[in-house]
Every structure is written in C-alpha cells, then in structure tokens.
C-alpha cells in the first residue's frame, strides 16, 4: 500500500479497521475527537459498529460487553476520559478480556489543559483502576508507529486476554505524517470459546470479575500476575539510539520526547560528545534489564518527560544506583526544544 499523509488521530482509526476491528464505542474529548469523527464515517463503510456513548463510563462498559461477546473492540479518549473509563478497565482486566484503549494524553490533573502531556504515565502503567492488574502499554513516537502499535495492541490484547493501551500525547494525535498500512488481509483473531454467544449445545459461558471465595479471587489474580510476568519476558520493546558504547550521558525518553531528544543527541554527537538514548516503547512491560545494562555503561542518566517526573521513578528502579539519575520535565502543555534538552544534557555531563 502506498504512503498516505494522515493526521495521527485518523491514522489510529484506520489502523484499528486494518486490524480487523469493527466495533468502536467512544465519547468526544479534545485532543482525540478526530478518531471518533473518522470512524463515524469509516465504520459504516466496512459494516462495523460506531456508537457515540453517553459518557466515557458507558463507552468503556460497552467495550466490556462487546469484548465479552468475542469481538475485537476499542475506544479512544484523552486523560479525563480515561479516568472515567478506569472503572470498566479494572473490571475488564479482572474478567481477563481483550480490549484496546487509546489515550491521547492532555495536561492534568483535573480538566488541566488540551495541550500535549505525558502526565498519565502513572495511570497507564500502574493500574488506573483498582485491584491487582496492569495494562499492556505501547508508546509510539511517530504517526507511523501509532498505526503499527494499534495493530499490535489488538494482537497482544488477544494473546494475553488483557486490556492494552496505546498512549500518545496531543502531538501524535494532531500532527500529520506519511503512513503506510500493512498490505494483505487483516489478521485473524484467535478463537474465543469463552465468549457469550448463547449457550447452544454447550454449558454456560460466564464473564465476571467477582470471586467471593478468597481462593478463587487469589487464583484469578495470580493468573493475571502470571500474564504480566510473561509480558515482561516476551513483550518488552525499546529502541537504543546511538547508545551502544560507553556514554557520558544516557537519555531516557519515550514518545514525542524521544524524537526531540534524538535531535539534541545528534547535535552533541556532532561535537564528539558520547551521548545516547534509550526509548521505552512498551511502558508496561518496562525495559528494566535493558535500561539497567545501558546505565552501567553511562556516567549519568537524564530522564526527559512532559510531566513533573513519572517515568523517572521506574528509571531509578531499573538503574539501581549504577549511575546518577537526573530529571528534566516540562508540564502544562509546554514542550522543550532540542536546545533545551541539549542544555540539560550538558548540565549533567
């Protein structure tokens, strides 16, 4: 398929269709509303379901019902909307169902602002809703990667029967870039014999997150834990950029911040400075061992985020004191320039 110039939000909508998803339930919120607008046109063309729910609470619970029925289903929202969806997300994780959530993050807390932010890292990677579970979280840094991650998220959600999130900031949603969709037929989801399709010729299929017997609830939670452990073994994705040798500074950044950081690194490399980047692509599972290994070759680590410091906690955990971990963050919708990052790298050299 030829490359096509698309806005991030629209490319995300098309990617879901290319992944074989025909069910979308959502509620409008800036800066991701174009996903809904795109699918309001596109879903009917492919015989799919587009439904504008009365709230994010309802939209996420429609995902719960649709996923239980065995279909591929997704929603998109932005930070305050994701907070409302977190109720259903917890139930969906507890019931071990595959769904895909898109969070085009805006500044918080509260109503915050509508400009780009990475301040939902905690919410995305540490749970969001109540209970023992994790989302599988993919963080694209380009529109093309957003497309690839949406398709991958459906595969991984089905593989693990666990909710998967693609998290981008407003820049990913709003900017236009050339994208290419995979050619060939849409991937075929695995069989879902557990789905609520009507008990014809079989016993009852039951989808629930309620286990009043403590042994049963413990068993369910240990199953979820085992899946998270498997994700840690099999699904960690990251990019190492000019980070192969001994480093003066190892920069750690994800999403759009990693792109800006690369420009800063290129500038410093052209001066002969040994700086590199490690970009987590899966925020959960986090590339703990890879980051630890890279940090042992670095004199200092600098974490750059569009927040007051969230991922930096996981970085410190991964680095385990092998190098000092510094932080540079912008918040409120302000975005650092490559020069800002260059200057911060120089400070910690």
């Amino acid at each position: 398929m030829a490359k096509k110039l698309m806005k991030g939000n629209e490319a995300i909508g098309e990617a879901a269709i290319q992944a074989g998803c025909r069910h979308y339930f959502a509620y409008p919120i800036t800066p991701q509303t174009e996903v809904a607008e795109y699918l309001a046109r596109r879903m009917p063309e492919v015989g799919g379901v587009f439904l504008q729910a009365e709230s994010e609470v309802a939209a996420a619970n429609m995902l719960f019902g649709a996923s239980s029925s065995g279909v591929r289903v997704f929603t998109s929202s932005s930070s305050p909307g994701i907070s409302l969806m977190s109720e259903a997300t917890s139930y969906i994780a507890g019931a071990q169902l595959p769904v895909v959530l898109i969070n085009i993050v805006r500044g918080g807390p509260g109503l915050g602002g509508i400009l780009p932010a990475q301040s939902d890292y905690f919410q995305a990677t540490k749970g969001g809703g109540h209970g023992d579970y994790h989302l599988l979280v993919l963080a694209p840094s380009t529109v093309q990667e957003a497309v690839d991650h949406v398709i991958l998220a459906f595969e991984l959600a089905d593989k693990y029967r666990n909710p998967a999130m693609v998290i981008g900031d407003g820049m990913i949603g709003q900017m236009m870039e050339p994208v290419e969709f995979p050619s060939g037929p849409a991937p075929v989801p695995p069989p879902k014999p557990w789905a609520t399709t009507g008990a014809r010729g079989r016993g009852q299929n039951l989808i629930r997150s309620l286990f009043l017997n403590p042994d049963e609830l413990e068993r369910n939670n240990l199953e979820i834990k085992a899946k998270c452990d498997q994700m840690m073994r099999e699904e960690v994705r990251f990019e190492a950029y000019r980070a192969e040798d001994e480093l003066e500074v190892l920069v750690v950044a994800y999403g759009t911040m990693a792109r800006i950081a690369k420009t800063a690194i290129d500038a410093l490399r052209s001066e002969g400075r040994r700086v590199g980047l490690l970009r987590p692509i899966t925020l959960y599972p986090f590339p703990m061992t890879q980051l630890h290994e890279a940090a042992t070759r670095a004199r200092a680590v600098l974490v750059v985020e569009l927040s007051t410091g969230q991922m930096v906690e996981d970085v410190r955990w991964a680095v385990e004191g092998k190098a000092p971990v510094h932080f540079f963050g912008k918040t409120g919708g302000n975005i650092p320039t490559p020069e800002d990052i260059t200057q911060e790298i120089r400070k910690v050299m």
Partner: protein, 253 residues
C-alpha cells in the same frame, strides 16, 4: 402403553442451584418468570444475561444461559456492547432499584433513548437490599431505612423516582410496563408482561423494560406475608401498575 404427561417442571432456563435469597424474597419468583418466558419463546440458547450489583449479583448461578457480571449500574452499557456486537443474541439485564435508578440512571435513560433492542427486568423493592437496607431512589416518603432512620424526608431526598413513567416520556418507541408479584393474579400478569418484552426483542422491535414491584422482608423488618401486604398497601398507590408505553404507540412529536 403407559404414558406420562409432564404438565409442570422447573424451566430449562433455570439451574438446579439453591438461591441465596432471604426467605420470603420475591427474586425467586421473578427469576422463574424470566426463565419460563425464555423457555416458552425458545430463546435460552441465544440469551445473554447481564447481572447487576445488588442482591441479584449472583443471579448468573441461577440462570442456565450465558452471562456477564457488570459493575454497579452499568448493565445496560454491557448489554449495548453485547447486542450491538451480536444482534442475534437476546440480551437482558436484571437490575435492582439502586443499581438501575441511582448509580445507573444515565445508562438506563440512554440505552432506552437509543432504542437498544434489549430487555431490562427492573426489580423495585424500595430499598438497597444487599448492603443491608439503605435508602434507594425508590424508597417511599416517610419510609424508614438505615440511612433515613427518621423516614425519607422529601424536602431533603426528593420524591421517589417512577422509572416506568420516566422512561415512557421518551419519544423513542419502547415497551414499558409496571407489574407486581404480591399475589398469584399479579404474578400471572407479571409473567405476561415479561414474556411480551422478550417477544418484542426477539422480533427486533424495541427497547423493553418491565418494572416489577418486589418485597424485601428482611430489610423492611416484616414477615413475608406482611411484606406482601405492605407492598400492596404502600407501593402500588405510589407506583401504579399497568402498561406505560408500547411500540405500537409510535414516536410522538
């Protein structure tokens, strides 16, 4: 040759489990009416039930069909997701007054207003049962509960919600009826209403909701027979029985 005609049996749509409901509670009767309706319309193998949070949270153990267990109040949203994804399934929610009329009010109104082809069995016993007898949106004026120990004060808590009448004001075509299960005659009427609601869904006609006035002897502090009398004397005057809306009425306005 000897011939045995079975003229009465447990519905296929019920399991053999003993329910956890309190003595005198009418949930058991309402479960049976739903199950008989599914049997008689031959819908069991196509049916997906959505359980609420409340006394009927474990109802999935008692119905012999596929089930999902929702978060408090969200059953109509799950039902929407199920029905939109697999329109060939018959989808019903079974919800109490706290679940449907309080925390789930938005999901109730909007699923009805979109005309989702689902059936809601709404069990109204004027109190929160599972949490132990707190005020519900349907608790009657002056009715005593653990969170309105002096009786429901309408200047503070407002008047009880009449769900059937409220939903009947929507322009979208639907079938809405309020019934009661406090006497054999009323149980027969309730069965007819529930069966009619499922028949509309099977025909792909409309949203349907049957509000069933029900007792809670435990939290009302009454014996089972006293509770049936209390329902008749106190609830029916405030919650008049009858058909509130049918799809034959057509959209108004």
């Amino acid at each position: 040759m000897a011939q045995t005609n079975i003229i009465f049996k447990k519905p296929e749509s019920l399991t053999d489990r003993i329910t956890h409901y309190c003595p005198g509670c009418t949930h058991g009767i309402i479960h049976r009416l739903v199950a008989e309706s599914l049997d008689e319309l031959d819908l069991r193998e196509r049916t997906v039930g959505i359980a609420p949070v409340g006394c009927a949270v474990l109802s999935y153990h008692y119905f012999n069909c596929d089930f999902q267990e929702a978060a408090h109040g969200r059953a109509p949203a799950l039902a929407t997701g199920q029905k939109r994804s697999r329109p060939e399934t018959i989808v019903f929610t079974y919800q109490g007054d706290g679940d449907l009329a309080s925390i789930g009010a938005a999901e109730m109104i909007h699923s009805a207003n979109r005309g989702e082809k689902i059936t809601i069995i709404f069990v109204n016993n004027a109190i929160y049962g599972m949490t132990g007898g707190q005020m519900a949106p349907t608790t009657l004026p002056k009715q005593v509960t653990s969170t309105c120990p002096a009786g429901r004060q309408v200047d503070q808590a407002g008047y009880p919600l009449r769900v059937a009448e409220l939903l009947a004001t929507l322009v979208t075509p639907s079938f809405i009826q309020r019934v009661s299960v406090h006497s054999p005659r009323h149980i027969i009427e309730a069965k007819a209403a529930i069966k009619r609601a499922f028949a509309y869904q099977a025909e792909g006609r409309c949203f349907s909701l049957v509000e069933v006035l029900s007792t809670c002897p435990t939290n009302w502090g009454l014996g089972p027979l006293e509770a049936l009398r209390w329902l008749e004397e106190n609830m029916i005057p405030y919650y008049p029985l009858g058909v509130k809306k049918t799809p034959e009425d057509g959209p108004e306005g």
